[in-house]
């Protein structure tokens, strides 16, 4: 049993807003839902599967299903994997469609951390005392940024990675963002700019961190027959993988992410290898997040990531592996502090040939979206999605 070729991404929509103090989170969900359905050429009445994660107001899928007034639902899924949830939910939607549980799946994400004044990257996490690890991380002041920072520190120690090499990831993202009219940070930056920006959590600088933005995004995933009836370029889901990586009682390896496992599963299901991939969307909460995931997916050897990302190798048109051509979370958008959705959306744009002409990858027929959620340094979820142009 496989999901390969069983479902198509028919609609994708990224909310253009980056600051929405006048909108509610539910309203943003509704706006992106309508946007993605319009993109697909479908209506709310066609939706019989609804997928959301922790950003959706209310318990599980119920509140948003009511707000969106989805009346024909026969399959729901609110799996929470942190920021990468939507990469995984796209795979879940494909699986549900493959099993005949639904025909038209809607996935929504929205949030307004910027309007709500919530600088999540430096806000300590884990407030629920019932969570077993709750009392053992945040009392130390450990923020999201610090957790990722320690991975970077360890990577530098083990493999000699430098701040300048990490900076190249931000530089590449900024080269892409200059062409995105909605990007929060459209200015091109240099390696020197990144390493000269203030330290947030040693060794990560401010420009190693993603933006905090309001907004959202949605995907519509459908059965092949429905996809063929719609007048949109076909984007077929061919492989998906997900996993959880945690401290494992102390056997944790700070420089390897769950992408090693979720990526291998997705490649195996799709029957392709890293060298076949034309474009990658890689979750970029911090520069180090990108570097570790690229290694774990097999785009370069473990430890060689610093060299791999240097000298513009991730810049579309200039380098070998164009990534995050919308500017990614580092420059464009990180709605609800969750970057998984926009990763899939930009991959869809690339496969459809609808990316900005300055960053469009030539003959882009195979793309990969990869995300990690929660805290890279202690415990995180990882999911990988491989998509093919029909």
């Amino acid at each position: 049993m496989t999901i390969k070729g069983k479902a198509y991404i028919a609609g994708a929509f990224e909310h253009p807003t980056r600051h929405a103090p006048d909108k509610s989170v539910a309203q943003l969900h509704a706006e992106v839902a309508l946007g993605a359905l319009a993109d697909a050429g479908l209506t709310r009445d066609d939706v019989d599967g609804y997928f959301c994660a922790g950003d959706a107001p209310g318990p599980g899928p119920a509140t948003m299903a009511e707000y969106l007034n989805l009346t024909k639902l026969r399959h729901v899924d609110s799996t929470e994997l942190g920021g990468t949830s939507y990469v995984a939910l796209a795979g879940h939607a494909a699986a549900a469609i493959a099993l005949g549980k639904c025909d038209v799946a809607l996935i929504t994400l929205a949030g307004r951390p910027r309007s709500e004044g919530m600088a999540t990257g430096t806000t300590p996490r884990l407030r629920d005392p019932n969570q077993p690890e709750a009392g053992f991380e945040f009392p130390y002041g450990l923020t999201t940024a610090n957790g990722y920072a320690m991975c970077a520190m360890r990577h530098m120690h083990q493999y000699g990675t430098t701040s300048e090499q990490l900076a190249w990831i931000k530089v590449a993202a900024s080269h892409h963002a200059q062409h995105n009219p909605n990007a929060m940070l459209p200015d091109v930056v240099t390696v020197a700019d990144v390493v000269a920006s203030p330290l947030i959590a040693d060794p990560l600088h401010r420009l190693d961190c993603c933006v905090i933005s309001d907004g959202g995004g949605a995907l519509v995933i459908v059965r092949p027959e429905i996809a063929k009836s719609l007048r949109r370029p076909g984007v077929k889901i061919v492989g998906a993988g997900e996993t959880v990586k945690h401290l494992a009682g102390g056997t944790f390896d700070l420089t390897t992410s769950g992408a090693a496992r979720s990526g291998a599963a997705a490649f195996a299901e799709a029957g392709v290898k890293p060298t076949d991939i034309k474009y990658v969307s890689i979750y970029d909460s911090f520069t180090i997040t990108v570097l570790i995931q690229l290694e774990d997916l097999g785009f370069c050897a473990k430890g060689a990531g610093g060299k791999f990302v240097s000298d513009g190798n991730l810049i579309s048109g200039a380098g070998k592996l164009p990534f995050n051509t919308d500017g990614g979370g580092l420059c464009n958008n990180h709605p609800a502090n969750r970057g998984g959705m926009t990763k899939v959306i930009e991959a869809v744009r690339q496969l459809r040939g609808e990316a900005h002409p300055a960053v469009q990858v030539k003959n882009c027929d195979l793309a990969l979206a990869q995300g990690t959620g929660m805290q890279l340094g202690t415990r995180h979820c990882s999911s990988t999605l491989i998509m093919e142009r029909e």
Binding site: P129, F136, T143, A149, M153, H157, G250
Partner: protein
């Protein structure tokens, strides 16, 4: 290398005193096992009785075999710092006011990988470190990684000082400083580098040996303080209450009677008046000012020490009414701890066994010497504990009490009456 602390400048009376903030305090019930051990100055983790796996964070079932048979065991805390980072931006007020703040991940030799505060003298990762459990300002256990070997002035480290109540450059009030333990405390505090000790004197006409020498020390100021006199306590609090950083209540009224050995309640009332009501009077007058000064700079109000007795845990019938007064004081100290919790001021309860003084003359050794007890109290202030059981007798009682309080009660009842 830690820079030695310099004497803080005099406080500017124009500036507002900052209100105390606390590190995050929420813990699950099982996680409080770490706090229970840290309260006694120990670093304990759960060890699986079935497969021997060391657990972290604390949990209800073994991570290796899911057995529920987990026992708290003392850890040596040795391990390797595998990665470190520095907090330079935070929305948690406690840390925001104290940045930059160093923290790291330590791989303990016993297995687990733990998050810990990082002493400034720890070398860059990877390096060997010693992990200790301290109570933090919120009263919860926090792990701190210290350098492998002691370094000069390491107690002066900014992060470590946030986890301790080091008397250095602080102002301390000792009640009944004339008693043998009081004198030993004043001397130990002066040696520990205090700024000033107010030596409370209840009975000015008494001239005990040694007190003239203590009085002559330049850091010592004798103040009148009779804990049975509410007005005297109020008056002294009005004069010095706003400056006391550490209060050590050493006042003690001790007689050797059970119930049948003495007619009437006068002796018991006198014990209660000093040991219980004395603490209550002190707390009512001195705690409010300390409460406001939990974050008053480098030498903020940090600790309140009660010298109780191990008899407070279980009645020692030959000293029956005395035990009862100490049990009452222990109960009140718990109330004081709860009321001072939001301010970060730590209540340190000290539970000595019999002290080698006149009122324990007829008890056979071992008895704890006042100088040794004073040294243990100062060490507790420099450490991270809140319940101190100094000396072999206290440790032995504690172990028996933790193992089976009913058995201890029977053992004490069976002891011969003197």
């Amino acid at each position: 290398m830690t820079r030695p602390l310099v004497r803080p400048p005099r406080k500017n009376p124009i500036l507002r005193t900052r209100l105390p903030t606390l590190p995050p305090a929420a813990r699950s019930r099982v996680a409080l096992g770490l706090t229970a051990a840290a309260a006694r100055g120990r670093f304990e983790l759960q060890v699986c009785r079935d497969c021997g796996t060391v657990q972290y964070p604390p949990r209800e079932a073994c991570r290796a075999c899911l057995s529920p048979r987990l026992d708290w065991r003392v850890q040596d805390g040795n391990g390797e710092l595998v990665a470190e980072t520095t907090l330079r931006h935070s929305h948690e007020l406690f840390f925001r006011e104290r940045m930059p703040w160093r923290l790291g991940l330590v791989k303990l030799d016993s297995g687990p990988l733990v998050v810990a505060h990082l002493h400034g003298d720890c070398a860059a990762a990877p390096t060997r470190v010693r992990v200790r459990a301290h109570l933090d300002r919120a009263g919860q256990a926090a792990l701190v990684a210290l350098p492998d070997k002691d370094t000069p002035h390491m107690a002066d480290d900014r992060e470590l000082r946030e986890l301790t109540c080091d008397p250095k450059f602080r102002k301390v009030l000792v009640t009944d400083a004339k008693a043998p333990l009081g004198q030993a405390l004043v001397e130990a505090l002066v040696d520990a580098g205090v700024d000033l000790v107010w030596a409370g004197e209840a009975e000015p006409w008494k001239k005990p040996p040694g007190f003239e020498r203590i009085k002559a020390l330049p850091q010592v100021a004798v103040v009148p303080l009779d804990l049975t006199d509410s007005r005297a306590v109020k008056q002294l609090a009005g004069e010095i209450g706003g400056r006391v950083d550490i209060l050590i209540n050493n006042a003690d009224h001790h007689r050797n009677f059970g119930i049948a050995a003495r007619d009437g309640i006068e002796t018991a009332r006198a014990e209660m008046d000093v040991n219980y009501f004395g603490l209550l009077r002190l707390a009512q007058e001195f705690a409010p000012a300390m409460r406001a000064r939990g974050a008053d700079g480098q030498s903020s109000a940090v600790a309140w020490v009660n010298v109780l007795s191990v008899f407070a845990l279980s009645n020692f019938p030959p000293h029956g009414t005395y035990s009862a007064s100490k049990a009452a004081a222990l109960s009140l100290a718990q109330c004081l701890r709860a009321e001072l919790a939001p301010t970060g001021v730590r209540i340190v309860n000290v539970f000595p066994g019999p002290i080698d003084d006149e009122w324990n003359q007829t008890l056979p050794p071992p008895k704890i010497a006042p100088a040794r007890l004073a040294a243990d109290i100062v060490a507790a202030l420099r450490g991270g504990a809140e319940d101190v059981f100094p000396g072999n007798v206290a440790q032995d009682w504690l172990e028996r009490w933790r193992d089976n309080p009913k058995a201890l009660e029977r053992e004490l009842a069976a002891m011969p009456q003197p």
